[in-house]
Symmetry: D5
Subunit: 165 residues, 10 copies
């Protein structure tokens, strides 16, 4: 399956290269965030039926069988060695060093819960700092998910065992 | 903070032992699942305001300051060595060996998404097998969370950079 | 042997895809749990003689040599990287965070023993929560196995050394 | 809890040392295997009610509160560094190098199943080899557990979801 | 040194708790981002001279010796186990799964360089999604740093060896 | 070399399968333990000259070149992932959990030494427990090796440096 | 992608070997440091447009398509096993043993910041020690990057959320 | 137990320091290798009854209770971090890089077996190289142990199962 | 021993802080590199007899017993977590990413050998880049050590076995 | 490069096998230690120009291109799994268990320094123990390298920065 995925990604990258379009261009043409488009072309995201025609329009040479493949839920994965790349390491460094602070601010402002990584948006943007230099802005925007209190009466799946015993 | 948590847990366990009540009894008296009650007494879950009086009723010797502590969002953690315990290992074994199958069935029956571990219920029950022997039933019941498609127009946090540049 | 297994799994997955049947359908036709059927098609479970005809009926294109292969005890294994997949990670997270609580409840309700992962059933079901939303229910149902007290008189294999010395 | 266990073990070892008895002697007096007695005195096994008086007879200075503690199900664990000890390493070496062969012989002679480590006996014995030299004999004697086939009709815990949906 | 840091952090957290102020309030009063204030109170950031009086004003009970300590460059570190916490894990998951895509978009939009984690801003905000539900927005804003081409003539430190030989 | 070994093992396994004989049968015909025969057919043990004809008699299709290969000392190794297999894991679990107890009993009964894993016998047997159920008996039988006291006069290799200095 | 990179590197190394030039010669001809040239020929650095002709002049057989490939930002990576090589290990040893001292001297002489590994020069030189013996001099020359204080007013990307809420 | 060992070692080291004797001196006075004496004073070796008086003579202040402790079989262990020390690392480097060559030479000169690390002598000596410079000579002198062929008739412990079945 | 070292380092750091001197000042007063002085005050280097008076002059409050302690060869070690610190990580990143290139240049310019980390100098310096900005210059200056060819006639320690056999 | 090395080693091993010579024979014919010869034939050592003809004489079928390859400095490496082999493990066990003792004896007898693994000889010899049994003698003979004191005046590479500032 891993081999399969690698082949698909290789074809998709090659198609994008031939098109000469950047992820930002593809994002604009499909109405998706730039990160999501890049994830689609790595088989790390799921192509939705209503988006398939837009992607096809943006990458006209995309064959039907690849579109078909992209519409299956992917097995999300990554090569652990990508943390060696300086860009990826810096992000990981920020998350690990700031992690507890971020968690506590979420707790103070929202309550006992987390930022979802599933109902989640991500984009990379370019802004100019106060010194006029380019800055990378990475935005993580995820739904707040409160930890549920596990009340027996709300646990639909659990009425059974009481009858059973 | 880890030290702090350990002290709180130690006091809570001691209180439970003195009460002579099982987790099942505490679960029944508080209307919570047995696993959730156990998590509360390990500071792995958050005590909600409306539940605090029920817990106080079930464990009358629970001091106010501990109740106060239990109402703060905990830092969820575990000792990696608990995987040495045969009970915990067997669960981990099942998850790792059955993991891809479970994922694929979720994909087939629900779509491209996951079972939440946040909006989540868990209980341990006792049933009799067809051979009349005792069986442990562990139920994981989590909300289905579909992976969001990251449409730019739905990403509220992202309208800014367009204005900025 | 690992290579061998990968080839077999690849053929089995391809056969299932061609059949157009879901794991739930195959489960219903064979009388097995959906997770067990998925395990069979990954060579993670053993096909029993009485079940082979049912599986053949459900997947008529299944060749005899694959059936023969599936009737050998498999070497159970998994790719450690599947824990990267969000679905699998969430399950692992639940097991590690709730592990000690689950263990203690088993001890209170059953005694000093564990839930077997060998005499074990597993299924994935779909229910509606009290808010009307879909929920995934994962059931682990394993025989309770008490830790044996190792009495010399019950250790059949050990009468020898007494004669020997 | 780990701290607690360490204290208990330290007291038990001290008691044994004062008694001047070997594990073999304690094994004989209690009717248990020598390994099981040693596990009891490390809080790695559970003291059964009918065995408590025998242990008390063998170690008369054993205080009631320790007996009480020993009758609770322990959290089984080990220090991963014990694999540095040559005795423990050699055992691990044998298991890892012979593992697949042992598995295959079990499959051939018993079927698709395993040797339980829960319904399990273990003893260490001394014999003389054909060259007249001392040899250590370690016996692992565990119940054969066949992997269950997960038939829906036998999964008692699973009738519910069918009614639910 | 680690012990020292832990003590300082413990005092700072205690002071903040007594003040009853959230990180957002402290951020507003000091003109810093909420994450940076939280990092200051964990000794993960450096208190600048001009900011010290503002922090003192926001937390009047902050003793001079702690302010003095906070003005030393800290040894930045974290407990690797915080990745067990669901909030921190989800962030890490996003970084590892999206890492290559983020890197490629930076390459396309900026060139061969990275987002600095040193000239870096981070904040946690609360917004409402299109469904009216709360969302967590985490912003990483770092200076773009191009990989330098290592031209000998620009390497000031290197004229020496030529003279030496 | 690893590739070489894998090829040899693959051929040997295939020969055994064709012969239709179990490891127990091969063991009986060659006068070796069942585990040792299985190790021979995985190139984890060394075929001795006097045993080669017996093995050839038991597996008449075994070609001379494979016999020749089997008579070279092998590089003993294993795939670390076999610990995922439940059978192998249970053995490892027993060794790690019982390790210190086994060591101490050896010390009490034999002295300061270990059980050799080199002058070592291993077999898997089938017995019936007191409940009439099948049990797996795994026997490890190794020569007792006392840790040598390193007396200079007994260190033959060391007289030199005294002359040298 | 990793495969792709390996192929490119293999071709580049082969070209260099055929040219008979050392990294020092290539460095002199291109005006780059010797380490940077070596990194270029391993696809660990980015070939700039103005440098491409110089490299082409130094390695006339370098085909255009490789030059084109070298002008793409590389995914920087390494084989973790290179730490086994004694040369690389010694460097790592120095960094880990001297790390905290280096950090503290940077803090004393520059302030709370780091040496960049991005705006960075590296060279290997040969000098004679006071004993007349050859010595290797490795120079790391990186821009000093102060940790930014995260002032809200300077965080260009962050004015939005205030308007939003 | 680890704590216990650390205390004993600390006392033994302190006694040695007060005595002002080197390991070489202690070795000469006790007739042991210098490495073995050093191991004794770290509780990594077992003090034999006939050697105890010699050690007492060499270190007259050695209290009886420590001698008593040193005569118990130790739990052999090490701090994995000692590999950071350059001396220890260099030894490990030599073993790992030369390991296969050493193994093959043993196989060629002795047969299919190993060098025992139990019936084992070790010493550190000082010699002058051909250039007149000091050299460290580390000698490992271990008994050759041939891998036993596991003949059933020689497996004394195994006659039982034949009777049993 | 680790505890001991930590105490010594803590006292030494405290003495330096009271003195108000930087490592650069101490380096100048003692004639040592700044990194070496810092290593001395962390017990990572050995204080030589002729340098002790200079260090005493630079830090007059340094007590004799600490000087005595500093003149013992230290056990060199580090806390593996310091790699979390951004300064240390960047150095490690450079070494791992540039490692093979550095090795090859050493091979080309010196031959088959390494840069010693024992006969080794290290300093941190401050220079201004061509853009007028501060840069950190880290110099590693180690003796070139050629891998020796192991000629039997040059192996002084080895004449013995020839006589012995 | 790893692939390249594997191919070369495979050819060299095959040549040696055809020659029918042992490492000891090759050592005698080339005047090298047996371990060094074995390292040469695994591309773990560097073939010197004056030794090449001797090796060619000992292995006449050795082709020129392999000799050419063997005269390049190798990338020294090993497969971490060789530690599974009992021979290699026993060596590693000895190094790790005896490591600190060896280090301390070197410190006492030589000073603050190490045994070089670069200017290093290694041989495997066969001797008879006092009991007449075969023993393996492994000799590590390395140059003593004192840790240098880093005096600024002796650091040739460092006069520069003083001029620069």
């Amino acid at each position: 399956m891993a081999q399969n995925k690698a082949n698909t990604v290789s074809q998709l990258q090659s198609l994008k290269n031939k098109s000469g379009k950047s992820y930002n261009q593809l994002a604009e043409e499909t109405g998706l965030t730039n990160v999501y488009v890049a994830q689609l072309l790595r088989r790390q995201a799921h192509l939705k039926p209503e988006t398939a025609p837009k992607l096809k329009a943006a990458l006209p040479e995309l064959p039907e069988e690849l579109i078909h493949e992209m519409m299956k839920p992917p097995l999300r994965s990554y090569d652990p060695n990508i943390i060696q790349d300086p860009t990826v390491y810096r992000l990981n460094e920020a998350v690990m060093h700031f992690g507890e602070s971020i968690k506590e601010i979420i707790n103070e402002e929202f309550g006992d819960g987390i930022m979802s990584a599933i109902d989640f948006y991500c984009s990379v943007d370019k802004v100019q700092g106060v010194d006029g230099k380019d800055r990378v802005v990475l935005t993580f925007d995820g739904k707040y998910l409160p930890h549920s209190e596990q009340k027996t009466e709300h646990m639909v799946s659990r009425t059974r065992p009481l009858e059973k015993q």
